[in-house]
Amino acid sequence: MFGAARTVQKSGANLQFVRTKRIRAGLDPVAQRVVTQLSVISANRKMPKMLKLSKEDFVKHVTVMRAWGVVRKEKKQAEEAQLKQQYESIKEANEDLKHVSQKLFEAANKLEIGKRFPLELRVPTEYPSRSGWFYDYTPRKL
């Protein structure tokens, strides 16, 4: 609780012991916390060495990235083509509906402000859920 007594020399030859507050090594806990936090944010002494690939490995890396680009581009193009087909299909159906029934057409083309995906329609996970498919659904009675 008390720090070690320190020798304080007063004017004159006689020595006196005076009790003082203990001086601890290091910073106080609040400052120490800030230092720790800064050390986590900072890159100092945590940065790895710069990556230096050999010439062969660099070319191999470039090849891998280009192959990935080619595969991704093909996928993207296929998707865009399909989406375009879907768009044309929607357009064709609506054009036809307009001639069949104006009333149905207007109902079909009502602006859907406030349209929401149901929250149950979740982003797929890597493995299936423990509860499985929810079969026991009963609609709410109004």
Binding site: E56, D57, K60, V64, R66, A67
Partner: protein
């Protein structure tokens, strides 16, 4: 075990220059990992220390297969092109580039062996052009603009070819950066030029003019242009792109104005020496042998011969203590010494 199972390891229809000549390197690029360590690293210690990234050896064969398959598709597309179409040559070149662009061996050579590429291959020309556009082209245009070579000699330049320049003053084989200040000792002999075409070229004719637009013209109190060297009808191709003493000795008609080194007179400041390279449509007609060097009208000359500039280069020179020796060498009279005119101090 080679990762290549398709078109990239067959050389029946493809040029053998698309493959690496160094066998160890070729094995390294055609195997999933590095079987005998990194070949490109020189010292034994660094070879031993080197570690590839994990997983690269797994993905590389698959990536190679994807790209090789794509290349095969493009080659079959080339086969099915209409040979009578007017754009056949262009389309073919474009597809040939696309087919070989991602070949690891080609990428390696284009990245690390720029000086020994086979320029008859469209893909190597493509990579060379990209390299040129990334640095040398911009550097040249910046120097031409800041030194006002355009518009002082010709109004503008749309560069199509890379022009490299060197002087045979010593054994060092070094290309000169545009805008460098050279001593008269360096420029005393005619230079060698390399004109690198990025299109397919089998026998185009070229004209080179070397002019000094900073010759003092006392009568007009201005400067005039002097033609230092004129070369015409030089036949160059993708394989042979040098204009040097050897080539000019063989075809003596080419040099219509003989080389005169830039010998600046004292106190005339730094002289810009511009090299202009023109691609000709046919043989040059209005360039008689022994054309007058002084008061050379370069714009008139270009117009008379219907030339279009495709490349340029610029260096600078200055009077130095060796200039008089060079003058003696070429049998020229001693140069004038210009002095600053003292203007009397006027009050108000």
């Amino acid at each position: 075990m080679s990762v290549s199972k398709g078109v990239w390891s067959k050389f029946v229809k493809r040029s053998p220059t698309l493959a690496l000549r160094n066998k160890a390197l070729r094995t390294a690029l055609l195997s999933p990992d590095l079987p005998s360590g990194p070949v490109s690293l020189k010292s034994k210690a660094s070879k031993r220390k080197y570690q590839s990234i994990e997983g690269l050896d797994q993905i590389y064969p698959l990536a190679y297969e994807v790209l090789e398959k794509r290349s095969e598709d493009i080659y079959s597309k080339i086969e099915s092109l209409d040979k009578n179409s007017p754009t056949y040559a262009e389309q073919k070149e474009e597809l040939e580039i696309a087919a070989e662009k991602f070949n690891p061996e080609v990428v390696y050579m284009a990245e690390y062996m720029k000086n020994s590429l086979d320029r008859t291959q469209p893909v190597f020309r493509h990579y060379l052009k990209k390299t040129w556009e990334g640095y040398s082209k911009m550097l040249l245009m910046q120097r031409l603009e800041t030194l006002a070579v355009i518009p002082d000699t010709l109004p503008t330049l749309e560069p199509k070819v890379e022009v490299k320049l060197k002087f045979p003053h010593n054994n060092q084989d070094r290309w000169i950066e545009p805008g460098t200040l050279l001593s008269s000792n360096v420029t005393k002999m005619p230079p060698s030029l390399e004109v690198i075409e990025f299109k397919e070229s089998t026998g185009d004719l070229y004209t080179v003019l070397m002019v000094d637009p900073d010759t003092p013209d006392l009568a007009q109190d201005s400067y005039s242009t002097t033609l230092l060297w004129g070369v015409k009808d030089v036949k160059l191709s993708n394989t042979d792109s040098m204009i040097d003493a050897k080539k000019l000795m063989q075809n003596e008609d080419c040099e219509f104005v003989e080389y005169l080194p830039p010998v600046c007179e004292k106190n005339t400041g730094k002289h810009r020496i511009a090299f202009w390279v023109f691609r000709q449509d046919g043989p040059l007609e209005n360039a008689p042998k022994g054309l007058r060097r002084e008061f050379f009208k370069i714009r008139q000359f270009v117009e008379d011969n219907k030339l279009t500039p495709v490349g340029a280069h610029v260096i600078r020179t200055l009077w130095d203590r060796n200039t008089e020796n060079v003058r003696k060498m070429y049998g020229l009279p001693e140069g004038r010494v210009f002095t600053r005119e003292r203007v009397p101090y006027l009050k108000n």
